[in-house]
Chain length 295, copies 2
Amino acid sequence: MNFKEELQKKTEEVQKTILRYLPKEEGFASNLAAAMNYSMKAGGKRLRPILMKETYAMFGGTGEVIEPFMVGMEMIHTHSLIHDDLPALDNDEYRRGKKTTHVVFGEAMGILSGDALLNYAYEVLFHAFDLSADNERVVLALQILAAKTGIYGMLGGQSVDVENDGKPLSLSMLEYIYKNKTSALIEASMMVGAILAGADDGSIRTMEQIGYLVGIAFQIQDDILDVTSTSEELGKPVGSDEKNHKTTYVTLVGLDAALQEVERLSREALSLLDGLEEKNPFLYQLVEELVHRRK
Amino acid sequence: MNFKEELQKKTEEVQKTILRYLPKEEGFASNLAAAMNYSMKAGGKRLRPILMKETYAMFGGTGEVIEPFMVGMEMIHTHSLIHDDLPALDNDEYRRGKKTTHVVFGEAMGILSGDALLNYAYEVLFHAFDLSADNERVVLALQILAAKTGIYGMLGGQSVDVENDGKPLSLSMLEYIYKNKTSALIEASMMVGAILAGADDGSIRTMEQIGYLVGIAFQIQDDILDVTSTSEELGKPVGSDEKNHKTTYVTLVGLDAALQEVERLSREALSLLDGLEEKNPFLYQLVEELVHRRK
């Protein structure tokens, strides 16, 4: 099985796990459940749960305790997409070729289903206590995940991004946004995998650093593709950053420097992975692919 | 000290506890912290944390572990108010005489600060593990609190309320909304207090039942005041339910039956409290006042 087939198989496995944890569409609040499930079933790469599971496996984890964390992470991520798409934020009508949640269910249900998914993430996460013999590890994983999601992580980055929409950004502010809006949940995914598998503190910090590097490189690659790719390759309009007067890594430092920075970040991430005693060739290749993707 | 003075003193104590847990308004995301703190400092009765603390005290609880739960509960409640006030939901410009969060900080920050408060509630709640010798009790309290907040609690009730705005409601749907939108967090407050103090299962269930009765009675009393009170007494417009063609307990069963139902519910709640071995005269009086309030 080549890498692409293996990735597809793993994505389908994660998909099945997610489906088992979704709320039932029944009772008076069935429409709220339907809105939550619509967005959770809308597809996506399931990147964060896969990174989490592969890190867990790399450090020797074999238990079911990882499942609620994988699902909770994807629910938190999906919550952020639903609210991101709302008229008051990015006002997007389509995501991955499908109508966004608020377009299908109305704006009020868009807001409430995002809220309900964020809260349901924690409801699901708390099942982990019933699946683990080591509650201390579960508590630490929860603390990290919550911190990387909130004002000192994803939601902080999201708020600064939204507030400065259309304004010129400094490099330090752009890096703050990329680190928090994109890296934070990737850091959390890799840290949680390591923590639950019983990795030592040094390895947990290494996975945090790898997550940080992958997130930033991923985001800069996004900026690069917007100027180097074609609409056909990318499956979405290109050149939109310039049209929207958006500050990106490419507009700030130029295309050549951006390409070099992606190289530097990805080399550092792969070398950190290489330096670990534990090995997972699939994870290594996934990190490589993420940074060098063409779409 | 009479009851009113005692209540004021306790409210001020809770207020001080809350202030100690708020995020600092610094760094790039300082405006998000400001929006979160604006709504958290906007006042309110702090009813849920007070009920939680008094239940905890009644069952002999004396530790600090109750603090993150009191603060987390108030953050969850405040999150729901911010999102409730948004243009896509109730579109309220004022709450308790102050401009609502989205009016002051913009709609995008209204959405994100509500999200950040819901998540921060869990960040704060996870501190409880560092303050307790009995993590099993903390886990149970977290599970109950999360369940009463989400699709099977407050957010479920909220979604059904919003979806049926302006439509005629059946009595069973109205009761579903009142139970979930209002009672659920009161039930959780009283259950968490009991759980953390080490109360037995029967007592925890009794507190859930009392919370349920108090929440429903509180909500029906709201409906009653809208037709029996004056704007001066209530501090807000009266008769708005009829004007908005809103289905309430009073429009469904009539004023007399509504008054009788409040009496029945409150008698039952007080008799359940009376039946417990543990006593807290302040809590008893608070429950009495809540149900019979004139505003």
